[in-house]
Symmetry: C2
Subunit: 674 residues, 2 copies
Amino acid sequence: MRSDEKDTAAPKGEGTATAHRLAAKQQEISVTEFFEKNKQILGFDSRSKSLLMGVKEAVDNSLDACEESGFLPDVIVRIDRLAEEDYKVYIEDNGPGIVHKMMPNVFGRLLYGSRFHALRQSRGQQGIGISATVMYGNITTGKPAHIRSRIEGEDEVAWQMDIVIDTKINRPVVTNDKAFTWDGKEHGTSVEYVTKGRYITGRQSIYEYLRNTAIVNPHARIEFRDPEGKVTVFERATEQMPPKSKEIKPHPEGMEIGDLLKYAHNTAQKTMKAFLKSDFSRITDRIATEILELSGVSPDAKPSGLDRDQSVRIIEAIAKVKIMAPPTDCLSPIGDTLIKKGLMHVLEGMRPEYYATPVTRPPKSVNGNPFTVEAGIVYGGEIPSEGQVTILRFANRVPLLYQQGACAVTKSIMEIDWRRYGLEQRGGKGIPFGPAIILVHVASTKVPFTSEGKEAVASYPELQAEISQALKLCARSLKSHLNKMERKQKTHAKFEIVQEILPDLAKKSAEMLGRPVPDLSRTITKIMNVVWIEPSSKRVDKRRREVSYEIYNYTAQERTLRLHMRLPRECVTLAMFKNPRFLDMNDEGKANWEVCGLAPSTSARVSFELEGELADTFDIDDVYVSGINPVHVMGAEALPGDWGIKGLEITETDESDLAEEEEEAAEAEDLGDE
Amino acid sequence: MRSDEKDTAAPKGEGTATAHRLAAKQQEISVTEFFEKNKQILGFDSRSKSLLMGVKEAVDNSLDACEESGFLPDVIVRIDRLAEEDYKVYIEDNGPGIVHKMMPNVFGRLLYGSRFHALRQSRGQQGIGISATVMYGNITTGKPAHIRSRIEGEDEVAWQMDIVIDTKINRPVVTNDKAFTWDGKEHGTSVEYVTKGRYITGRQSIYEYLRNTAIVNPHARIEFRDPEGKVTVFERATEQMPPKSKEIKPHPEGMEIGDLLKYAHNTAQKTMKAFLKSDFSRITDRIATEILELSGVSPDAKPSGLDRDQSVRIIEAIAKVKIMAPPTDCLSPIGDTLIKKGLMHVLEGMRPEYYATPVTRPPKSVNGNPFTVEAGIVYGGEIPSEGQVTILRFANRVPLLYQQGACAVTKSIMEIDWRRYGLEQRGGKGIPFGPAIILVHVASTKVPFTSEGKEAVASYPELQAEISQALKLCARSLKSHLNKMERKQKTHAKFEIVQEILPDLAKKSAEMLGRPVPDLSRTITKIMNVVWIEPSSKRVDKRRREVSYEIYNYTAQERTLRLHMRLPRECVTLAMFKNPRFLDMNDEGKANWEVCGLAPSTSARVSFELEGELADTFDIDDVYVSGINPVHVMGAEALPGDWGIKGLEITETDESDLAEEEEEAAEAEDLGDE
C-alpha cells in the first residue's frame, strides 16, 4: 500500500524507484470490483454453494418485505437446468413491491439498501445480498437479471426490466424497461436470473434451506420446483404473523466514540441534552443531565460542535451511569414450540428419548445492538449415537448451512464440557459425540456475521457467553432427565430381583421338603411396600401415540392417589376427557388423574392418546403423584408445590408403615445386592 | 432491499404504504460505514484480536514493501499500554517509503491499493487492511493515526502527518502535515496509532504472530517491545532475499465471462487476436487462432466491440483448447527447511520421534490465479499425545492465528481418514488426536480468504483437493516410518528371546547335570545368522546431538559392508570427516561409511555428531547398507538403486548361508513364538 501520483520526480535510488513504481500502480478499487475478485467472501466459492446463496438472498428479502408490509408471505422458487452448469433461477413473492424508479438500484447496486441503518431484527441488513446475486449471474453467464414488480393499488401498473451491474462504477445498467399487466398479481416482486451453479441434495441443499426456513417461519408458504420439475409446497402452518419487530433508536451501551461523533454531527437536535434524550433509547432527562455533568459538556452546547475529547468524556460517562437495558420488542425469537418442531424435523421420523426444555435467554446488547439467544436439545432414542452431535444454526430466523466451524455457536458448543451433561467428549473439548441434536438461534438487530456471505456468526465475547449460557441451561434439563433414568433403572433392578428371587427360594425349599409351593404374593408385597408406577408408550400410527401408566399397589393397604403430568395441549385428543380416571386439565396442558381405592396386590391403568407432530415431545417419565406418601411411590415424583394445580391431600396415616418401611427397604437392599 | 424516491405519489393500500415507507429509507451505504458497522468482518471482533489485526496489517505491508524494493526488512513493533484498554501501537520499517502526496490515501482510504490488480504473490492484496486499522483506532479512541515516511535520496526530506478517516465519504482528513528530518533514517515508513485493545499472550498473541512470521521470513529482522517493555529481537537468519515473485498476466483458465469482457474493453490492443496474445499468459499465436476459430470471432475484430455472446463462446473455446499451466515464478513457496524449522519452533525444545518429509505441490490455478500448497508433519517423541493434533496455517508467508474452523486447511485435515496413517481419529473424520503437529502453507497470487479479516482460506474445491494431496503425501511418509518401527520391534523382540532363552536353558540343564555351563555365543550366532545394526542417539548439549550405529556380526563369517544415510548438511561437523570409517558425502548430505572385515561375534561402531537447529530432524532409522546380502542384515534396509550414490558390491558368495539361513530363521521363529 505505497503510492504517489504519476507525475512525481524521476526515480533515484532503488527505494525511490520502487516508491514511484508502486505509486504508478496505486488506484481506487470499486467495491464491485473488489467483490468480483473476492466472490468467496460473498459465499460464491463453489458452484453448488453459489446456487444456494442466490436463492437465499432473494427469499430472505421476500420474507422481510412481506413482514414489513403485513402480508402473509407466499414465496415461489423455481430452478431450471439449462446446461451442465447453467441454471435459471426464479423467485417470486407477494410483498409490497418496489416502486418503478428504484428497481435498478435495489438489484443493480452493491451497498445500497433500506435496512442497513435500521435497528430492528431483519434478515437482510447489508445492502449487498441480492445485487451480489445479480452480479454473480452477470459475471458467470453474461446474462442480465430480469426483474418484475408491482405495488398495490388499482391504478398501479407492473414494471419489468433487465439489469446488469457495471462493476467498474457499481451502477445498474437497465434495458427493456417497460410497463406490463401482471395477470392476477395484486402486488409483489419477482427476480429471474441465469447463473453458473451446481444443484445438490442433502444437508447443504436449497431444499434443506427452504425446509428449515419454513420451520422457523410457519407463517410463510413456500413453493419450490426443483430442476427435475418436482414441486414441493411447504404450507403455511399458521395464519398469524410473528410479532412485528419494532425499530429502535441506538442504545448508548457499548457505543464507540466514532459512532457518537457521527450521530452528533447528523442530528436534527439543537442542544446536546435534546440530542442525547431524543436520539438514543433509554436516555431519560435525568440520565442525560447526569451524563453531561459527568463529562463536563454543557447541556446547551451544539451537537454539531462536539469534538473528539468531549465525545471521549461522554462515552466514559455513559459507562459510569446506570442505563436501562435496551428494549426488546425489536427482536422476534422463535420460541419453544418452533424450536421443538425444528428439532423434530431433522429427526425425520426417528423417535428420540427426550426433548430438553428449550431456552430463550433475556436480551442483552453488544455494540448497542440488542440480541437474544435460544437453544434446544433433543436426545437419544433412534438418533444415531456413533458420530458427532448434529448442530442446527439459525440467525434472525434464517438457517445457516455453511461455515459451521467459523461460527460462535459451534465454538460455544466446543468449549462446554459435555461430559458433565451426559454426552461423550474427548478431553472435555470439541464437538461432543452421541445421540443428540443441538439447535441454536441468534436474533439481533444486527447479527455480527463473519463475512458478507452471512454463513457464520462472529465470536463476540458477549455473544458467545450468552450462547454458552443458553446451551448449559438446556443441557442441565437433559442431564437431570438422564439422572432420573439412571435412578429409576437401579431401583427397578433391585425390586425385580425381589420378585424373582423370593419365589425361586420358596420353590426350591418346597421341593427339598416335598411340600407344596407357598403363595408369596403378600410377602413380596410386604417387602416391596410401594405403589409402582410403570409408564409405557407405543405408536398407534404415524400421527398417534398411546401413553399409559400401569399403577401396581405393592403395599399392604388400599391406596387412593392422583397422577399429574404436563401434556402438549395441541396433541390431546377428546377421547381423553371421557376417560373415567381423568379429572381436569389447565391451559398449560397440566392434566390431573385420579385412581380411587386401589386394593393391595392389584393394579390400575391410566392411559390416553396424543395426536400430532408434538406427540413425541412429551416425556412419559415426567409424571407426578399426590395423595400418597411419596416414599411409597416408585416411578413418579411428588407433585411439586409450585406446580400450580391442586393435588390430593394425603389422607391415610402412614406412621406404622413409615416405621416398617425402613427395615423392609433395608431387607430389599440386601436381597437386591445378591 | 425495496426502494423509491422521496417524491413519489402518496401511499394507497398497506403494500403501497410500505413500498413508499421503505423507499424513503433507501440509501447508499459508504464502504467505510459498512465496515464501521461490521468491524468483525475485518477481524475487529474482540479487543485482543483487534490489537493483533492492526499489527498484522502493518507488518505485512512493511514486508511486502521491503521485498518489492529489495531491502532486507528491518521491522520495529512497539506496544505501549496507556490505560485499561487503550494501547499505543508503533510500527516502523526500512521500506522504500511513500511519496508525500499519496500518504493520505494509503492510510486514510479503504479499498485503495497498488496490489489489488497485480497477479503476484504478496501479503496485502485488498487495499483494506492498514486503513481499516487506522479507522478502528479513530472510531474507538477518537485519536488520529500519525504517519511518517521518507523515500530514498539525499535531497529527499521525510514527511509526517496525522490522518483520520471521514467514514461518511471514505476519504482521509489530514492535519499537521509537515516535513521533518528523520535522524539516521535513510528510507522507510512508520505508523503510530492509539486503539482500544487487549494485550494477551499465548497461541493467538502478537508475540506468536511475530515469531511465526520470523520463521517463514528468515530474511527479516523483527524487533518487538511488549507493553511490559520487554524487548525481543527475531534476528535475520539469512541475508538472502526470497526469490522475488514475478507479476504475471491473467491465465485464461477458469476465467469468468465478466472478466473477459472487462479485459477486452480496457485493453490497448486493436484486434482480438493481439488482445488474446498480449494480455494473457500462455496464449500463443497458434492458441489465439484456435480459440478465435472455435468461437467464430474474427481475429481482426475490435476488442472494445466484444459482446456477451461472443465472450461466452470464447470462454467455451478456451475450455476446449489445451493451454499450458500458468507460470509459477509468481509464487514463492517456503520450502523444506523452513517448514521443518516452522514445526521445530512450535516444539519449543520437545524432542519429536520423526519429521515426515515436507511436501511442496506443483502449482495449479483457480480462477486464473496460480497457487501452490506445502505441508509438513512432525510426530511422536515428547509431543503431548492426549489432545488433538496442533495445526499451523500460513498463507503467502503470513501465519493465520484465528478462524481455524473456517479454513480450507482444517476442513481438508478433517476429511482425511488419519487412522490409515497411524493417528487416532473417531470414525475416520474430524481433527485427529495424537502426538503430531501439522503445518500447511498456501501460496497464491490471490489467496481466497473467507473475509476481509484474512484469517481463513475459503474452501474452493480445487484448492482443498490440493491441500488434501499434500497432506496425504506427507502422511504416507509418516506411515511408512511407523510401519518400519513396528517391523523392527517385532524382529527385535524375537531375536532378544533367542539371546535370553538359550543361555537360560543351557544354565538350567548344566545345573541339573552338575556340569559347567557351556559357552553358547557361537551357537547363538549360528542361529541368529545376521548382522545386527543398532542405531542410537543422545543429546550432547542444546545444539549438539550424537548419533551412533553399533554393528554386531552375528554370522559365522567375517563381514565387510557399507552404511549409507542422508544427513541434514548444515548440521554435519568437521570431526565427522576425520572418522576413519567415513568415506564421503555428496551435496544432498548423502554420506557413505565402510566397516571392513568385521569378525564373527564381534562388533564395530560408526558414530558422529550433528550440530544446529536441524539436528533433530535426522531420522536415525533411515539407514541403508550395501556390500552384504540384505537378508543377513537386521536394522537397516538395502541401499535402493535410485539412491544416487554408489554402494559396495556384494563380494562374498552366500549360497551356503542362504540354504542354512532359512531353516535357522525358522528355528528362530519357533523360539520366538514361545
